[in-house]
Amino acid sequence: MSNEKQISNAPMILGIIGGILGLPAAICSGACAAGLSTLADGATKQSTDDAGSAFLWIGLIAALIGLVSAFLYKKNPKGWGAMMLLAGILSGVTLVTFNFLSFIVCILFLIGGVISLTQKKPAL
């Protein structure tokens, strides 16, 4: 029986599901940020649009990094695991908009990133 240890597929699955859920999460974050910023003192249309766009893009970039990391982490588990953690942190930033979907995406990326970082690449 072979003792060769395979790299886990868990980060790939978590990253893909997180990345696909990250797309609506980013849109929700943008909408929530725009909505919340209207409550601020001296809010203008420009400021609410800017807040919405900023959180939308942060969410989209996080989803994109997470998705790419999920597909490529097997080549370099440490490097792409760190990128998945970064995606988790970026999703975590959008949590200030009280968007629960971002919380799920953040958790998926963080778990995936941690598992990926603890992987040892098997010797060929």
Partner: protein
């Protein structure tokens, strides 16, 4: 009255996870489908026998083609619905599966060529994983209520609940063809066929049979799929399906190796 029924079927556009928090079913199913397809690919014998470098190149090609496929699906939907591609219109534009599949495939072929990988053998490896992702994607469509069919009195007819997309279209509770489930069932049968019978041209079989099936199922679709080439006879997906059948048939006829390959039982 055709298809009138008080029955409400199970359909959840958003999964309630408590405290007024929801998960979008469509995205969840699509994500799960792609994840399962990738997982299947890792244990797929023809893929496992590839070198680590080739596997990495295939993964890289897949992620690029998936991302650009999503963009292709988005642009094709905007074109067929005649919606201008502006930032303000983003929430009005959806995704067209065939547009995404074909643009993604085109990008995949280019990526495989750039990576110096054999195109057809690599696409053959991916035919069964495609079926898995496709199967879950259409289940996601059913949960979201999009891509619905025309009214029917048959036993397979289903009624979507109030405020669903079919209800908003027909303005009444009415039994309609669950075209999403037809497609899921078809792809599932195709998956079983491709895994049970070891055919050598799996990709051709997948794309050809799906195009024919899609062309036929479009006749019982009732959702707004837009217009291309200023005509109402065929839907955009039917035109794409026809072009795909012609293209694949031409490729098969010009491929001399194809006739030598047999189905292994």
């Amino acid at each position: 009255m055709v298809g009138r029924s008080p029955t409400i079927i199970f359909m959840l556009r958003y999964l309630d996870i408590g405290n007024n928090n929801f998960l979008p079913s469509y995205n969840l199913f699509v994500g799960f489908g792609i994840a399962m397809a990738m997982l299947f690919l890792q244990y797929h014998k023809p893929f496992k026998t590839r070198t680590e470098n080739e596997k990495h190149k295939i993964h890289l090609s897949l992620i690029v083609s998936i991302l650009l496929g999503f963009i292709g699906a988005f642009i094709f939907d905007a074109y067929s619905q005649n919606i201008a591609l502006t930032f303000d219109n983003l929430n009005q534009i959806g995704l067209t599966f065939l547009g995404g599949l074909l643009s993604g495939l085109l990008v995949l072929v280019v990526c495989l060529k750039l990576a110096s990988l054999p195109i057809l053998p690599t696409l053959n490896i991916m035919a069964t994983p495609f079926c898995i992702a496709h199967f879950f994607g259409r289940l996601g469509c059913f949960m979201a209520g999009c891509c619905f069919g025309s009214p029917t009195n048959s036993i397979v007819g289903v009624t979507f609940p109030i405020d669903s997309l079919p209800h908003n279209h027909y303005h009444e509770l009415i039994k309609i063809h669950p075209t999403q489930l037809y497609e899921s069932a078809f792809v599932l049968c195709l998956f079983v066929f491709l895994t049970k019978f070891k055919t050598n041209n799996q990709f051709y079989i997948y794309i050809l049979t799906y195009s024919i099936f899609r062309f036929l199922v479009e006749f019982i679709r009732a959702d707004d799929r837009g217009i291309v080439f200023n005509q109402n006879t065929f839907s955009p997906s039917q035109i794409i399906s026809l072009l795909t059948v012609v293209l694949i048939t031409a490729l098969i006829l010009t491929n001399k190796n194809f006739q030598k390959q047999t189905i292994k039982l």
